[in-house]
């Protein structure tokens, strides 16, 4: 077995999950200018929802679809109920609201589903394939395919549809967009819904590996922030690329850096965030804005 390549591939697979979450963060940030600290909890709620649906007899795929749709509606509703009233407030107030959402989601998950870990059975079994000395499990392949589909769907939504055009316009020039007939409040809420839907896919497809607990995605969210910081919160493609870099980087660091191991791996994204933001405020991949020297 090729250990280095195996580490890179495994890191890239989790990097896609991180990239999915970073993409969700970027979609919300682009539209509303808000860092949603509860984004990881959105994904966790969605994963629990998928689990709940499978226990009610729905197959994994059906649960994934229903959970994604419900998550979209949930994201939309959360924006309308909790964010819209404070949309014009200062950044600190909004930050406090999203951190509160994080904590509330935590306790809600605990009170509904309990704090003991659960496991969501993926439909992929234990099948594994060896290609060029690297082992790919069916779960890994499914994770890659589903996340690539989700990311492609978001890209098409933004680039090719009228809703996407509205979201891009509203993000770039809110007032001019309103004066052209764009319903700003609804468009921003759709952005939150789309972000929650991406999180639902990321959370559900990774759940068979990670298991389910209320804080299962908190480290992924930190990694997602690192990815978005690296890719630039303004760039959707940058967020996904950042996710891959962070995923591969932390996997390599965990395997090869002496003394890091599994316990200190989370130091790596934190260092990445600090390093990226101290060199460039806007991320490495972003096209707009200026670099502070």
């Amino acid at each position: 077995m090729n250990t280095l390549m195996q580490t890179v591939v495994t890191g890239a697979v989790s990097g896609l999950v991180i990239g999915g979450l970073a993409l969700a963060l970027a979609v919300v940030y682009q539209g509303s200018g808000i860092l949603n600290f509860a984004q990881g909890q959105f994904a966790t709620v969605s994963a629990y929802l998928s689990w709940q649906l499978t226990t009610w007899g729905l197959p994994f795929w059906g649960a994934l679809v229903v959970s994604t749709v419900v998550s979209f509606l949930l994201g939309f509703a959360v924006q309308q109920i909790f964010i819209r009233p404070v949309q014009r407030a200062d950044e600190l107030s909004i930050l406090i609201v999203t951190v509160s959402l994080l904590l509330i989601a935590d306790s809600l998950i605990g009170s509904i589903w309990g704090f003991l870990p659960k496991s969501l059975a993926g439909p992929f079994g234990e099948a594994a394939y060896t290609i060029a000395d690297v082992v790919f499990t069916a779960q890994m392949l499914a994770q890659v395919v589903l996340l690539v589909i989700a990311i492609a769907a978001v890209t098409i939504l933004f680039r090719k549809t009228s809703i996407g055009l509205r979201m891009r316009a509203a993000a770039a020039a809110p007032e001019s967009s309103q004066l052209s007939g764009i319903n700003l409040a609804a468009t921003l809420a759709i952005g939150w819904g789309v972000a929650a839907a991406i999180g639902a896919v990321a959370g559900t497809v990774s759940a068979p590996v990670t298991g389910l607990s209320p804080d299962v995605n908190s480290s992924t969210l930190l990694l997602g922030f690192a990815a978005a910081a690296l890719g630039g919160f303004h760039s959707r493609a940058g967020a996904v690329a950042g996710g891959l870099i962070v995923g591969i980087g932390t996997a390599l660091a965990g395997a090869y850096l002496p003394g890091v191991g599994d316990d200190l791996r989370l130091m790596i994204p934190l260092l990445l965030i600090v390093l990226t933001l101290s060199v460039t405020r806007e991320g490495v991949f972003t096209r707009r804005g200026t670099v502070r020297v």
Binding site: R168, S176, I182
Partner: protein, 239 residues
Amino acid sequence: MTAELRLTAVNAWYGKVQALWNIDLHVRPGQVVTLLGPNGAGKTTLRRAINGTVRRQGSILLDGRPIDTARPHTIARAGIGTVPQDRGTIPGLTVAENLRVGAIAARKRRSGDDRLDEVLTLFPDLAGMLDRPAQLLSGGQQQMLAIGRALIGRPRLLLLDEPSQGLAPIVVDTIFTALKTLATDGLGMLIAEQNTRLGFAIADEVIVLGSGVIRARGTAAELADSPDIQAIYLGGGAP
């Protein structure tokens, strides 16, 4: 097709600061009304009060229907097209995408095919740069794009905020020639303008704002003969 706008006793605020007092204003169908006044006179606030992007109070009727509590996008869809100050083109979107955004306002009114051809006839400069990002256009081209975007929404009344600001004289000529063509075709307009010569030249009626209240109103000829108005509110510029 063109609409009537009537404001009665309109007040408006920026935050807690009142910026407009007791404004009465009437744009008849197809009429061009120019708002003149120095910086800070309240021209943009008045435009924004009609758009619904500042807090306002009083009666604002579009074809007799109240729009004074409506939200900005609803007002746009009702037929008020706007060219905001500083162009208001949408950066990051191409020229073609900016124009597609403009068409959103017309969608609910089922006005059929969009007016892309008309806009490109009015501003041939834009035809060759449909795929270019809007922020890479020159100031004049951005202004043409902003007007084009408003027109593609099939407005029944057009609000223009300082359309000549920051533009070279030759570009201003192009813009105002286009505006006159639109006026001749019967489109009603309310134009806020600092350039008194341009403002007088295009207007059926001129309204002079100062410190948030209406100081004078009349035809261009009536006001042009009033030396006081020029001295106090227009900085003495010859009409």
